[in-house]
Subunit: 317 residues, 2 copies
Amino acid sequence: MKLTDIFWPFRSDMNYIERELDRAIDTKESVLQKASSHLLKAGGKRIRPVFVLLGGKFGTYDIERLKLVAVPLELIHMATLVHDDVIDDAELRRGKMTVKSKWDNRIAMYTGDYILARALMMVAELPNPQIHKILSRAMVDLCIGEIEQIRDLNNWEQNLRHYLRRIKRKTALLIAISCQLGAIAADAPAYVVRQLYAYGYNVGMAFQITDDILDFTGSEQTLGKPAGSDLRQGNITLPALYAYHRSPDAARFRTLAEENRVDEMIQAIRQGEGIDVARRLANRYLARAAQALEGLPDNRSKDALLKIARFIGERQF
Amino acid sequence: MKLTDIFWPFRSDMNYIERELDRAIDTKESVLQKASSHLLKAGGKRIRPVFVLLGGKFGTYDIERLKLVAVPLELIHMATLVHDDVIDDAELRRGKMTVKSKWDNRIAMYTGDYILARALMMVAELPNPQIHKILSRAMVDLCIGEIEQIRDLNNWEQNLRHYLRRIKRKTALLIAISCQLGAIAADAPAYVVRQLYAYGYNVGMAFQITDDILDFTGSEQTLGKPAGSDLRQGNITLPALYAYHRSPDAARFRTLAEENRVDEMIQAIRQGEGIDVARRLANRYLARAAQALEGLPDNRSKDALLKIARFIGERQF
């Protein structure tokens, strides 16, 4: 199964969202236009808008209202990506040049700020104060997550809890509120909103854990960047944490870590059982995501949400 | 006259705003807490909150409502400062170490993002959609202004219009909406809101032009950074533009510019008439600022606004 198959019933609305993304960043300032547009064209799965639309199906589905949440959420995500690239000094993202490498760090920083401001302009069209509160709180958490990520860089003394809190703030939260805000913008009942948030949170956790697995198991071709990039940048994810703290081979691995022999560490992780441990944890989150949907009315959207959870469990890139 | 004298009647509310600024950035994440707090403590004139409170005096003055505009406006301003310091690679601001020099660029970038997100969280408490729209539009313009500033860096072929548009976006706009949003948050009549915006815009233009003059005429001690810093960083302000395009000595100055002899350029600007030309322009804006207040009811706030305009005309640092 491919994601595009799951999204097929929503393709015309997703095309509309794509055009609105384009329109949202439009400016006469040519550098800003080019940099933002470059970023937009670099693609991505548009998973956050998809979740907004799916959430919206549990209430009064109105694409004109939903887009005011869907487009900003994707823009906020994009803004964090550009800022991440500045931080990580990344040359490539999804196999394409990053804004910071095609232009420079300054342009990348302000492009991020600009895209964020555009997102806020669009949200401001919505009169619903609850949405503003949820969104701004999430942005605070995103930033705290980024700082935590920097703080935890190259720190082997962190534990599973640190890792989980970090990926919650980094990924799961934005997916959780995508589902939640879609439902709120469609005036869905409160219990639906709550369950969709829980679904999104669990799917988001699984998604990031899977991403962190693929960073080790994937190839440069499928990843669009060299395998083991996270570890090379000092970002210690679950498979690495397991190798260091829990694996039968931990003693040898610690020596590699102390001597910063990254290639050997990556190889050890690829061959060790940390990958399986992480996969099992991801599956636990996916099971909880499916559970969260149980009480919800059966419809095409619920079907798609279940398929997405299954897709994440099986995804290879 | 000193600014503190003008603010004297508002000192207890300003102290309250100061405490609320502190509270707004509070977080358990220690790096973020320290970096934000360092930035806050580095001071500044808190001119934006002052304008909010003064604007609020033309309607139903309620500090609990006004703070929800005053604190975010100052935070947004602070966030742009941290990002500016990353961009400018600045070591000092107001004589104190910048976040990027005390920590690093990454921390500075996310501290800016964090402070911004905190600002939005506070604004989200306000149910008034007009305020959200004005604020997010201003943030878009701020970013466009920053990119323009980068684009115009070291570009001697820009004209007065470029300069004015840049300082409008960089400074005048945020001051204009400080006055405007204070009045809106206090439900002041529409014509008052309009006139206060006009006042703020003109005062803001004069303020920035004066800042740009002082960058040449001030001493390292009063500026908290070396004189001529703008030009050294390639930021071509009005006195420099005049020297290059209009002064009787333009030919000689252009040679200096071509050969990038910055110290001599700074000296030429200090001694030339570009400083006076800029001062006259600043005074024209100040006169317009005073005019904008003419139709407004006489009260202590109007008195303070007029004094602020006068203060800017006379300020030496």
